[in-house]
Structure formats: structure tokens, C-alpha cells
Amino acid sequence: MSIVIENLSFTYGKKSPFEKKALSDVSFTVNDGEFVGIVGSTGSGKSTLIQHLNGLIKLTSGKITVDGIDLSARKPDLQKLRKKIGMLFQYPEYQLFAETVLADVKFGPKNFGAKDEEAEKMAEEAIKMVGLDFEEIKDRSPIDISGGQKRRVAVAGVLAYKPDILILDEPTAGLDPTGKRDMLDLISSLRSSGAVKTVIMVSHNMDEIAEYADRVIALSNGRLVSDSSTEEFFYDSDVESLNLALPHAVYITKKLAEKGIDLSAKPLSLSEFNEALRRKLSLGEGGAL
């Protein structure tokens, strides 16, 4: 189930006045079961990279293999590939089109060859998985439901065909704080329940990446500039030089260290930071700060 990328380069509008190099010589491997965060400032090539993984952009230079499917082949089996990889774009609610929520979620399974009844069952499962009331919502129009619900329906539309790998492009963009939290909890529960194996998440929000990803890949001007564990990335590399902000937990820990207060821990989320601080102040489990 691994994804192997070797020397991937891509240029938009080749040989036109609008020519723009988007990726140059990117190589990395995503192993089965990993949660990989892809970070980089706007225009660093993140979107181009993930669109390649799903065969949405034709490979022009380099090699990509997804679970044995070679994308540099002359005619790779794109349907098989796309069934394996669920891709959730930015603002996925703008792709909803059907008359009812159920019909929209069924779209994926039916395209991948499921019979109507089967597709309906898969859709029901997916709608329940994203925490929506199936009976209540299935016959409503996807245009009339609330923003948060739309986003969930769009996620269900991807989960319905049971992909092994989930690729998310800014899944929390435009959601309110509760919506953000719910979305991220949903993604991590999908992974822990085994509904999806591997998750690749593109995000500008470093707190989300730090808290959820196991590994971080950083892009800058189309080049891979860092590929390391989340802890190494935020504590040992120069994150700010990539025009990215540090996660809050990391920022405070580093500031404290500058003032001579060593937490002797490398917290990535605020709850981990809390825990480290408690230990430092010898307050023990559950003690008041």
C-alpha cells in the first residue's frame, strides 16, 4: 500500500509565456499506515504534488508507484488507482451536485462499479461514519444543508467507496473552531478504526499538523526541503525560514527554553505541553496549574 515517488518534476504551460515550474526533483516514500503532513507556503507545489498521486495530472517526468500501480506506464489503470486513493479537495462542498445527499454520496461507489443497492449500503455506512443522521439527511438537497454538514457529506462522498489512502487538501479551511476539531477528530478516528490506512494531509495550520501527523514533508518553491518526523521537523529545523509559523506548543516551549526553563520534553499539542509543564512544576497528574 506504499506510495513511492522518485524524481518527480512538473512544469505548467510548458513552452508558453505562462510557463511555471511547480515541482522539481521531488522524491519520497509514504509507508502503509502513516499519517503524513505536507506543508509549505502558498505556491510551493503541494497541490500539484497530491494531484499527481491520483493521476489527475499526467506524469511528465519522474516515477510514481502507488501500491504496485506504475503511473509512468503508458496507460495506468486510473480507475483502480482512484478507488484506492480517496482525495478530498479544498472546499469539497463545492463539488456536491446531486438532488439528494444520498445520491451524491452514491456517486463514487457507482462510478467504481457498485450496483445500486450495494452503493446505497456503502453510502449509508459512510454518512453514518461522518457522524450525520442518515434517515434525517439522506433525502435533503446538498445545497440546503448547513456548511459544516456539507463538508461532512463531501467527506462521506469520498469515504463511501472505501479508499485505503485518504489525501486531504486543507480539510479544515473555512470551518469554525468546533467544526475544525470535529473534522480532525473524524480523520484520526477513521485511521484508528482502520476505515482508512494511510492519511496524507496538506495544511497551512501548523498546530493541526503537529498534533496529528507522524511525519512532515516540507516543500518550498517546488523542492522537497525537509522530510522528517514531526518532532524533528518542528524542534530541529528552521521552520520559520519556510514562511511557516511554529505550532503554539512548540513556540512556547522554545521561548521558555530561551529564558532558561527547560521542560525536558518536546510537546507537539497543547495538551502535551500542559502535561510537560505539570511535570516540570511537579504538580503530578490532574494537579491545578
Partner: protein, 271 residues
């Protein structure tokens, strides 16, 4: 798929042709189209070809980009040529079967018709290659000014046109995004019969309509918030000027038209 659309695209460069007044260019395209229809002998076509070639070379638009615009209409060119070859009745017959016949005059006529279509497409795309959409609408607004006398809302129409043009790339981008999202969910767009293909477009068209209305609403709000109204006497950021370049181009155009008319009248004794 949307990336292949070349027709109607601006090619940024800073050539003599690019710097011409858009009004003159609009007028020149009109004159050229009329000339193409005045042509009847091959020498006249050669003159048109030479004129167009000079314009392309001076404009520094790569020949390849220009040829791509022909590719888009190649089917129509081919179809007209074939129809003309088989259904032209006069001239010496080369081959005949039932109602189909190929004659020498038919072949010539077909070649001329094909050339006409190619000239029309290339000349209009030279206009869009060398003028920004904004310049074109400004030019049209200026040309339409006399219509104000009959209370035609010239400025409103110009604003509507420039807004529409402004949104073409945005909507193309939107289409691209939606197509990608639906492809990721396994949608096919390029197989099956006509009905199946049309149906396959629904998952793209519906979200596109929804987002177009949303965008229109947002734009209207943004215009309102900045107190925009289409007052008739707004000043321009880049007012149009008729410069020495336009004068030179005008005389070249006049010379070209004269040659075409003289050829038409048989002045040079060429047939």
C-alpha cells in the same frame, strides 16, 4: 482539458501590434474580413496571406500558437472543403458518381473557401492575441459611443462585457477544480455515446452554476460596498490615444485594401 483552449487568449509581448490602439485593431480586423470576401483570384489570397504573415511576424506571437488556433477549426475547414469539392457543378469533370462530381473549378473553389475560413480565424485570434480583454472592451465602448444618442446604455454594456471577460479564466479554473474532484470520485468524461457524455457533464455543470451565482452575488456586494455605480462620465486609468504607430498602421491597412480592390477590378491584368 481546459488548458488546451488557445483561441481568444492574450499573448503578452511588447510589439508594434500590441501597442496599437484597440479601436484601430478592431477596425483593421473588420477591413481584413471584408477584403477576404472581396478576394476571387489566387493573387488576392496571396496578398491576404502576406499581410497576415507580416502582422504575425511583427507581433512576435509564436507561429506555433497561431497554428493551434487553426487546429481548433480544422474540422470545419475540412468539412467545407469536402462539401465544396463534391457538390460544385461547373468546370471540367475529373470524376463522377451519382450526384457527386469532382471538377477542376470545384477543387479551386474548395481551396479558396478553406483559405477564407483560416484567414478569418487567424485574423480574429491575432486581435485577441495582441490586445488584452480590457483594451478590447475599452475600444468597443469608445466605438459604440455614438449610440448614446439613441439612449443605448453603452457604458453598462461595456462593464457587463468586461466583467464577463474577466470571469472566463476564473470559471475555467473552477471547472478544472470540479472536474478533478469528480474524476477523483471515479467520474468518466471521455467515453460513451453523446447522451452518456452529456449526462457525465452534469456533476460538473451543476456545481459550476451554483458557484457562478455565488460569485455573482459576492461581486455585486463588493461593488456595492465600494459605492460603485456606472456613472456615464467615469475617467479611465488608461485612456486610449491615437499615436504615430496607429497612423503608420492605418496607412499600411489602406495600402493593403487598395491592392485588394485593384486586384478585384483586374487592374494588374492578373487572373
Amino acid at each position: 482539458m481546459t488548458k488546451d483552449i488557445v483561441f481568444g487568449q492574450y499573448y503578452p509581448a511588447s510589439s508594434f501590434i500590441h501597442k496599437l490602439d484597440p479601436r484601430l485593431k478592431l477596425f483593421a480586423v473588420l477591413v481584413f474580413i471584408v477584403s477576404v470576401f472581396l478576394c476571387d483570384i489566387f493573387y488576392a489570397y496571396a496578398a491576404c496571406y502576406a499581410f497576415l504573415l507580416i502582422v504575425i511576424l511583427v507581433s512576435r506571437v509564436p507561429i506555433l500558437s497561431v497554428l493551434k488556433t487553426i487546429k481548433a477549426v480544422l474540422f470545419i475547414v475540412f468539412l467545407t472543403a469536402v462539401l465544396n469539392i463534391f457538390f460544385y457543378k461547373e468546370g471540367n469533370v475529373f470524376w463522377e458518381w451519382e450526384f457527386l462530381r469532382i471538377t477542376d473549378e470545384g477543387l479551386l473553389y474548395a481551396a479558396k473557401m478553406a483559405l477564407r475560413i483560416i484567414f478569418l480565424v487567424v485574423s480574429t485570434s491575432m486581435l485577441t492575441f495582441t490586445s488584452t480583454p480590457m483594451a478590447l472592451t475599452d475600444g468597443m465602448e469608445s466605438i459604440m459611443k455614438p449610440l448614446k444618442i439613441i439612449r443605448f446604455p453603452v457604458h453598462d454594456v461595456a462593464v457587463i462585457m468586461s466583467t464577463a471577460l474577466r470571469f472566463i479564466p476564473t470559471l475555467l479554473e473552477e471547472v478544472n477544480k470540479i472536474v478533478m474532484a469528480q474524476k477523483a470520485r471515479g467520474a468518466h468524461f471521455d467515453n460513451g455515446g453523446l447522451v452518456k457524455r452529456a449526462k457525465a457533464l452534469l456533476p460538473v455543470l451543476i456545481p459550476l452554476f451554483v458557484s457562478t451565482f455565488r460569485r455573482a452575488d459576492e461581486l455585486a456586494l463588493a461593488l456595492d460596498a465600494r459605492c460603485y455605480n456606472a456613472t456615464p462620465n467615469r475617467t479611465k486609468m488608461k485612456p486610449l490615444h491615437f499615436s504615430w504607430r496607429d497612423l503608420v498602421a492605418f496607412f499600411c491597412l489602406a495600402a493593403f485594401l487598395t491592392i485588394i480592390i485593384l486586384l478585384k477590378l483586374g487592374f494588374f491584368g492578373l487572373v
